[in-house]
């Protein structure tokens, strides 16, 4: 081998390792999708905490490289750095940590003060099962249909947790779909809410919630965890951590732990979760017919969930005395997506009555939606795992 051949051979090898050499149109599409997510997050302020890590993760995961070169850099290559970080997603331990943080951040007072609002969170779970029925009709197997349908719970960690157990091959698309629709909740929900309510209903004023004692706040996570997990033990990782986080917050003697869980820990896990979920959407596995179906089913799940939440409140109002009527604009908040959907209830309520603040009332079904979606995931896991 001459010296010039040696130089050319090495340069050729380097060229063959570059992204330019290995790029396909699928990679470019996924890179554009990643850039679009980052645009939505930065310019439109759509769930930036989620869409920035996911969008950038998509860029990381879709830089083309020679998979046969043994570089051990891809997220699916065992032992690579990304693969180690991805373990939290594939083994399903990031979502419970996020739930710990959610529990430590969430004030359940609105729910404790008005426990009947919990039923709205339960009703909104019909979005999950409505989407399940559509998915089975399209031809998905029950386990895959369930993993897709949980997008309707509007709860990213729950969707990742369930799909990692029931359909790991679809997890990337499911997670991206769940987070994307959560970010698009301000666009999806208001038209449905307007369509299903009358002007008279939109200005219903609800009584201010009663003050909740510290003891009740402490009892809630303990009793809540025991009751819900006795009914659905398969939801233990999610609900156990959610209520544990809430006990740290409310017991008054673990302020440091609650602050860490709700700030530093949640931030760290959100970064890792978002980035690795984004990176897992590699062009070869992501751009498939199933992904299109998943996005369609996710959209349907959100619509059904929002619809069922609002309709349930209207139905419930028929049974309530006039003084205790519930504003149906808080029905959409049953679809988890904390606190975005509660904010939408509030904003829409203010549009029709500038002094009718629905935020605290909407937080009740909103947090019960979190519990409800975790229970729904546990039920599906119990049936199909």
């Amino acid at each position: 081998m001459s010296f010039s051949e040696f130089i050319i051979g090495n340069l050729t090898r380097i060229w063959e390792l570059t992204g330019f050499y290995n790029a396909t149109w699928q990679h470019l599409v996924m890179l554009l999708v990643g850039l679009f997510f980052i645009f939505l997050a930065i310019k439109k302020n759509f769930e930036p905490m989620l869409l920035v890590p996911i969008g950038f993760g998509m860029l990381i995961g879709n830089v083309p490289f020679n998979t046969g070169a043994g570089l051990e850099i891809g997220i699916y290559e065992q032992g690579s750095v990304l693969n180690i970080l991805y373990n939290g997603v594939s083994a399903g331990w990031y979502p419970p940590l996020i739930f710990l943080g959610i529990g430590a951040m969430t004030d359940f007072s609105a729910l404790i003060a008005n426990p009947k609002l919990m039923l709205i969170g339960a009703a909104a779970q019909f979005g999950v099962f409505g989407a399940y029925m559509i998915a089975t009709a399209i031809g998905f197997m029950p386990d895959q249909a369930a993993a897709i349908a949980i997008i309707g719970g509007a709860d990213g960690p729950t969707a990742i947790f369930l799909s990692s157990k029931l359909a790991p091959n679809l997890m990337g698309a499911i997670a991206v779909s769940a987070y994307l629709y959560m970010a698009l909740v301000p666009l999806i929900q208001p038209p449905i809410m307007r369509l299903l309510t009358t002007k008279k209903e939109r200005v219903i004023r609800m009584k201010p919630a009663r003050a909740v004692s510290q003891n009740e706040k402490i009892i809630f996570p303990i009793v809540g965890m025991l009751l819900t997990c006795f009914v659905v033990p398969s939801a233990l990782p999610l609900l156990g951590m959610l209520f544990f986080g809430n006990l740290l917050r409310e017991c008054g003697v673990t302020t440091r732990l609650a602050k860490t869980a709700s700030n530093a820990l949640t931030d760290i896990v959100t970064i890792l979760l978002g980035m690795t979920v984004g990176a897992s959407t590699q062009a070869t596995t992501f751009l498939t017919k199933e992904t299109i179906f998943i996005f369609f089913l996710g959209f349907m799940a959100f619509i059904i969930a929002s619809t069922s939440g609002v309709l349930f409140v209207k139905l419930f109002n028929l049974l309530l005395p006039k003084s205790k009527k519930i504003n149906p604009l808080i029905g959409n908040a049953g679809v988890s997506a904390v606190p975005m959907s509660a904010r939408i209830s509030n904003n829409l309520g203010l549009e029709y009555d500038p002094s009718n603040y629905l935020l605290m009332h909407a937080m009740g079904p909103n947090v019960s939606g979190v519990i409800g979606s975790a229970v729904a995931a546990g039920v599906l896991l119990g049936f199909l795992a």
């Binding site: 404790i112 009709a137 009663r210 003891n215 009751l227 819900t228």
Partner: protein, 309 residues
């Protein structure tokens, strides 16, 4: 007395944790008494074998448990310590050779299975007293046939023998040393839902009922708790302020307790009457932003100066 009670509780809790970590999930899963054509050991020889199965969903360390063929001698063969292979992964198997040659390695035992007669096999826990599992292999078992559980690790409490069957190596009754007795290529529950509930209506009804009942239970529970809380609160108020139940009811109206109303009244007083206490502060409902981390907080990281209390 109180300390003694707490210590007792801790001891009981510790014992229960220790019990939870016992080897109760270990099962005898398949046995072959006469092996002329089945699996060979590391030396290329055929012997009678006993397959053990970890029926739990976590790894199981089985060193120091005892294998025996005589209930009067429970400590016949102790599984040696220090071999990494005695840690059985979840839902996996190991084979012990009943060749009477324990000097050949961890999995070669001093047990003998006798053809033509009933062979009782037992596993005892490390204390040599707790029987973990047992099986009576029938004398009628033919050479090169195995006596296996119909389904891995599954027991029949009422009739233990009903959980077992003879396997002759035919396609229907395959012999599976070191492998699952039942080979599944699909999830049977998923298949069942796919076959019997094509539309998903049954799952939807069942699941929605469970979700509703879980949250309804929570709802009822907290309705009761809030009622009890209110009752206790009223009783305490009546006692401390020496007032009648009717007066307590008036004071307990939600408007009196609502933070929003109190804030609104305070703001109105501040704006219109300039009526406030000596503090010259302005009421605000803006969120205070602080770059704070508990890791950098002196309050939490500095050791408190000891003092007499």
């Amino acid at each position: 007395m109180k300390k003694l009670f707490i210590t007792l509780l801790v001891v009981i809790a510790g014992c229960s944790v220790a019990m939870a970590q016992s080897r109760g999930g270990l099962r005898i899963n398949e046995v072959m008494v006469v092996n002329d054509s089945s699996v060979v050991d590391d030396y290329g020889e055929r012997h009678a074998w006993i397959e053990l199965y970890n029926s739990t969903f976590g790894p199981l360390e089985i060193s120091s448990v005892y294998l025996t063929t005589d209930s009067l001698q429970p400590k016949m063969y102790p599984v040696p310590l220090g071999d990494v292979n005695t840690k059985i992964p979840k839902r996996q198997h190991v084979i012990f050779w009943a060749d009477g040659q324990p000097d050949k390695g961890t999995f070669h035992t001093n047990l003998h299975l006798v053809p033509g007669q009933d062979n009782w096999i037992g596993i005892y826990d490390a204390n040599g007293k707790t029987l973990i599992d047992e099986v009576l292999v029938p004398a009628s078992l033919l050479p090169n046939t195995s006596y296996a559980r119909c389904d891995d690790g599954i027991q029949n409490e009422e009739n233990p023998a009903a959980a077992w069957e003879v396997r002759d190596g035919s396609p229907e009754k395959y012999i599976t040393p070191s492998s699952n007795n039942v080979i599944r290529d699909t999830n049977s529950r998923v298949d069942l839902f796919h076959d019997l509930d094509k539309s998903g209506v049954a799952l939807t009804i069942m699941a929605m009922s469970i979700v509703f009942s879980a949250l309804l239970t929570l709802c009822i529970c907290f309705w009761i708790i809030s009622r009890i809380g209110n009752m206790v609160l009223r009783r305490n108020k009546m006692k401390s302020q020496n007032i009648s139940p009717a007066e307590v009811a008036i004071k307990d109206q939600p408007e009196h307790d609502s933070g929003e109303v109190i804030a609104a009244i305070a703001m109105a007083l501040r704006d219109h009457l300039e009526a406030h206490d000596t503090e010259q502060t302005v009421l605000t409902i803006n969120k205070i932003k602080k770059a704070y981390s508990p890791w950098s907080s002196k309050i939490y990281n500095m050791r408190e100066i000891p003092g007499r209390k």
